[in-house]
């Protein structure tokens, strides 16, 4: 655990140097990567560690974005509004988890997929509060220069990503993480062995909601404008899942590696194959998942176990 924390501190420290380069393109890409890192690490709690295929990331993201935006509309300071958004997503995840986590496998996946659609319709119709389909404008940050703003949101996402990483590292090496591994491998057997499966699953779901909610709020402030189809986009769920599967489900570094790889590929492919980029990207993902079903992190693990034969 200490080794992992050290490696992560080093990596986050290096990423923190990106703004020194000063180029707006890299800042923007970095902020996006960190945001998707938060989404992927969050999905890993419920999808990787507990083995429940959740599609609720988009729901938490949109809920967080709108909670943060509405809070700021009523004059709540920005950073406090982000925190409130995280708490709102946390509470929502707890309630939702108690209801949905009775379902398993495909049934759970479908139920969690619908949540974002329901929330989007609610936000669409609550015109007074959310502006409905017109979207919602957010107050501009107090920083005057565009550069300073970009740097501010980069560091905000970095802080949130570091926090999410700390939570996953702590969970992975705690009793909670051990219990989740048991549930992921055989829930009935875990129950018979004394694991309070409901409590553990809901805890994982709550962890998978809170940070995504905060990320949604930061995203809203960063863009100054949100609308329902943008923040409740199912692609947030799908991308988070693909990233974790690319990197390695259940491991602490997997989601981060997966997020970085996915966005790099997306960026690269998009630049070189403007016409067919989604097709090329899809093909690459299929190949990766086919030949590395346990994700990129399994390469390092395999090398490690070859060094130490049993």
């Amino acid at each position: 655990m200490r080794k992992d924390a050290l490696v992560a501190a080093l990596a986050f420290g290096l990423v923190a140097l990106v703004p020194l380069g000063g180029e707006a393109y890299w800042l923007r890409l970095g902020t996006t990567m960190l945001m998707y890192g938060v989404l992927a690490m969050s999905w890993n709690f419920i999808g990787g560690m507990a083995g429940y295929p959740s599609f609720a990331v988009a729901a938490f993201f949109g809920l967080g974005a709108y909670s943060g935006a509405v809070a700021q509309k009523f004059g709540v300071p920005m950073v406090l509004a982000w925190t409130l958004a995280g708490i709102a997503a946390l509470a929502f995840a707890a309630l939702l988890g108690v209801a949905l986590l009775r379902l398993r496998g495909h049934y759970f996946a479908i139920a969690s997929l619908v949540v974002a659609e329901v929330l989007r319709e609610l936000v669409n119709s609550a015109t007074d509060l959310t502006g409905g389909g017109m979207g919602l404008n957010l107050p501009l940050p107090t920083m005057t220069s565009i550069d300073a703003q970009a740097r501010f949101f980069f560091y905000a996402m970095l802080a949130l990503a570091a926090l999410t990483f700390a939570a996953s590292l702590f969970t992975r090496y705690s009793k909670l993480g051990f219990g989740l591994r048991c549930i992921q491998q055989n829930e009935a057997a875990a129950d018979m062995l004394g694991v309070n499966t409901t409590l553990y699953k809901v805890s994982a779901f709550v962890l998978s909601g809170a940070f995504v909610g905060a990320a949604g709020a930061v995203y809203a402030s960063w863009l100054h404008y949100i609308e329902p189809p943008d923040v409740f986009d199912v692609l947030y769920s799908v991308k988070a899942i693909v990233m974790v599967l690319l990197g390695g489900a259940g491991s602490v570094f997997g989601p981060l590696v997966g997020a970085a790889l996915f966005l790099s590929l997306e960026e690269l492919v998009w630049r070189h194959y403007l016409q067919v980029h989604t097709g090329v990207l899809g093909l690459m993902i299929v190949l990766l998942v086919l030949f590395l079903p346990r994700g990129l992190m399994s390469i390092s693990r395999r090398a490690w176990s070859r060094e130490r034969p049993r």
Partner: protein, 250 residues
């Protein structure tokens, strides 16, 4: 001897099927009780009712003086009821040691980390698996997997151990080793309820036997008396055979 486990008029219904009907049974502290019956008699259902997997439709289950009828499986496990599965179920992506640690941690009350690991190691030594503690649980043979089940059961610090056909699929040599192990467990003062098809096992281990047939308890008593019981013979071998036996003897 006081009763550790008491079932009073337990019935379990699955839709129109009555898997258990009015079962009343009491297991004394320190007893090794055998539960036998033809296939489909409701033996595993009885274990599922006790452990809370399929709570009783009516009737009560009491353990150590407390009502456990409606408790969830994890709560029953923490109260001191451990079970092994008919089809063994280790966590495949974990090591043998981790499997047993999980039992010690979540049901046995050991603390996370060294304490759970040390305790797990002790139980692995007891069942003779200490030298493969770091092996992945998915790679074990059936006989070792059954031993692992024993170690997991013990790590839960049980007062009552429910063994659901732990000897199915083992060869005679492996069965002898398992018998020895069960005797050693009983000698520790753990009450054992053993579901078994192999009469050799039941007769050599149990202090008392109960027989289940079509969800009903049809006989209870000492092993020697049970094998002579006309209803038991009838349940296993049919009415005609029972009559012939009776005629020869009578």
């Amino acid at each position: 001897m006081s009763a550790l486990l008491e079932l009073a008029g337990v019935t379990r219904q699955f839709g129109g099927l009555r898997a258990l009907s009015q079962v009343t049974l009491s297991v004394a502290q320190g007893e090794v009780l055998g539960l036998i019956g033809p296939n489909g008699a409701g033996k595993t259902t009885l274990v599922n009712v006790i452990t809370g997997v399929h709570p009783a439709s009516s009737g009560r289950v009491r353990f150590a003086g407390r009502d456990i009828t409606r408790l969830r499986p994890y709560q029953v496990a923490r109260r001191g009821v451990a079970r092994t599965f008919q089809i063994v179920q280790p966590f495949p992506d974990m090591t043998v040691l981790e499997n047993v640690s999980a039992a010690a941690l979540f049901a046995g009350g050991a603390r996370y980390g060294r304490e759970a690991r040390d305790e797990a190691m002790e139980h692995l030594r007891f069942v003779g698996l200490a030298d493969i503690a770091d092996r992945s649980a998915a790679a074990l043979t059936l006989a070792t997997r059954k031993r692992l089940e024993f170690a997991k059961g013990l790590a839960m610090r049980p007062r009552l151990l429910l063994l659901d056909e732990v000897n199915a699929g083992l060869n005679p040599n492996e069965i002898d080793q398992a018998l020895e192990l069960i005797r050693a467990i009983a000698a520790r003062g753990i009450t054992v309820l053993i579901i078994e098809h192999l009469m050799k096992v039941v007769l050599s281990l149990c202090t008392r036997i109960v027989v289940l047939h079509h969800g009903e308890l049809i006989a209870a008593g000492a092993p020697a008396a049970i094998v002579e019981d006309a209803r038991v013979i009838q349940a296993y071998l049919g009415r005609r055979y029972a009559r012939e036996q009776g005629a020869v003897r009578g």
